[in-house]
Amino acid sequence: MLKETRYSYNELTLELVQNLKAIVGEQYVIYDDVERLEQFSHDETPGDYVSMPAAAIRPRTAEEIAAIIKLANRENIPITPRGAGSGLSGGAVPIYGGLVLSVDRMNSILEVDRDNMMIEVEPGVVANDINEHIEPFNLFYAGYPMSLETCFIGGNVAENAGGGKAVKYGVTSRYVLGLEVVTPTGEIIELGGKLVKDVTGYNMVQLMVGSEGTLGIFTKIILKLLPLPKIQADLLCLFKTSDDAISAVPKIMTGGGVIPTSIEFMDSHSVQAACEYLNESLPYEDCGAMLLISVDGMDRDVIEEQYITIGKFCQEAGAIEVYVADNPSTSERIWKVRRNIAEAFSLIEKRQFNDDIVVPPASIPAAIAKLEEISAKYQVQIPCFGHAGDGNIHARVLCRKDWDDKKWAAMQPVILKDMYQMIREQGGRLSGEHGVGCKRKKYLNQVVSEEYINMLRTVKRAFDPNNILNPGKIFDV
């Protein structure tokens, strides 16, 4: 359990529960029902990031959310906003109890504006549903988190989700043009809009993106769309060593004049785990690491030229084999390996933590080499996989079989300290796309200055004077 006590809040009384029911309707307040509340006590973060809320509430409109927040301010009850709960930083865990506010009922696609190439959605829309909805119009939303089949767009915006296509298309923030937000004091405000250019005051939209539910709850989101790329091809490149593979990444990025959609790195542990899990027969035995590189566009001949260019770079960099997938079935076969790594490791060792480190793209080889040193130093497995092209690597530290839970708990901060030391030296940060949440809060000052954290505190205090919305996340006020 992970309950924090730094701030004090009032208990949720039966009378307040009645008030909440009056706002959203009786059936949308879950109270005094441990079984149904359990799902709101955690997200997907591996480890003991669990804390029960007193109640969960599922509003349908911005007005309902505003009324709930006003009530919470008046009665001093903490509110933790929640999307699909697929987060990996404990951001949606109600560490002060109180109320979890789930946006799952706010799941309408409000408008596809084909003239402006934009879409307006509610926060509870599943990320992948956006693309399924707009594909017939030959439009495309570029967000591609690995959890896209379950995660909500509201959570994507709150965490500024990245994912597999960030090398070419960037992260969520690049596509958020407008937001309707309920502030921590219960005002409904529109920020930005259907505008490509807008310098009317501070860029509040971008302040909200990645605010991890601490500065407001999004109730409408306007996203920029792109023309749908018709053709995609993927290369699966096998290298003898991790070093060979990762050293090829900067060369691919700068040398060929082609920006791939994604460059995913998978070390041999990761590939092996996923292949065994999927019963896939890729010839991974002799290879130390793989790169999965995608290109997309409108013209088959152009795409062919591009993947040949990139594939030749990989061969020059020492790839022992380069496989090509240029149709949906072969493509799915190799992406499935990448998407199932996390799941495969969850089965191998339950005791693990997953870090989401990010360094400048060119520093990736140095970071991976350092991680291998740390792995050797503590004799722990650290399978590495992730979005190498954008400098973001998911390093999963697995507990040693000979360590008991107590030893494991004691060793985690020790290993993390070494990892964060390396990140600081490389000019990186603790999290590229999962967020700080409650999981990385205590390590924040290891990689950023106290002045920076103070600036964040000032913003939070100005927005949320009573510290009602998602307290205890990112930093302590």
Binding site: E304, E321, V322, V324, A325, D326, N327, P328, T330, R333
Partner: protein, 265 residues
Amino acid sequence: MRIVVPIKQVPETRSVKMDEKTGTVIRDGVESIVNPLDLYSIEAALILKERFGGEIIAISMGPPQAATALKEALAMGIDQAILVSDRAFAGSDTWGTAYVLGEAIKTIGDYDLIICGERATDGDTGQVGPEVAAHLKLPVTTYVNGVNDWTDGALTVTRLVEHGEEKVSMQLPGVLTVVKEVSDPRLPTLDGKIRARETIMPILSFDDLKLDLKLIGLKGSPTRVVKIFRPKVTRECEIHTAEDEAGVALSVERLYNFLQEREVV
């Protein structure tokens, strides 16, 4: 060993939609791929070549776009590819198709083995392989899941039958149809793709093959597709409710008998 692998280009099944009114498949904008079950015949051929040396020739009858499927086969390691394409072939059923393929295979010269996939994922008949054998008057072994040896001109293979495996020795030249268990297909390589791109693929037409017009197209096809429709799912459930302890034993016994009758346990 000289091996011929007939392959088919099929629509990618995930994106296939049916026109409910006309009962036909909507092919507009649907991506085409190598028939997934033909990947296993390609793989089986590649494994045999690795063991015994030789050459593999892929052949496909279809519209000019079927060249894409043949290029994928080349990228996987096939040596040569031949496209058999002519408007006159349109409408041929499996018998007509097997006649055209058989005549095209005759132009290749000597060969030891023809390996087909079990069936295509679009037509789902599983007939073309054995029919090619019939046209060429060759022996055929179907549902092959493993190739053991090749000595004195005979190939020993195992094939899946209802209650196990059968070991068969077949004099070559002959025809095999293979099932998924034969081996996992390899992925096409970059070098293979580059080679496929540079390969000039011969196209055999009606005139090249000097075929009998009466034996191809709709006219030459003894079978007709009358109607395509979605089958109705008619599953019948048996529900056994146990009221007490004795009832549990009875229900378990009924379940056991049910499964045993169907040879599940």
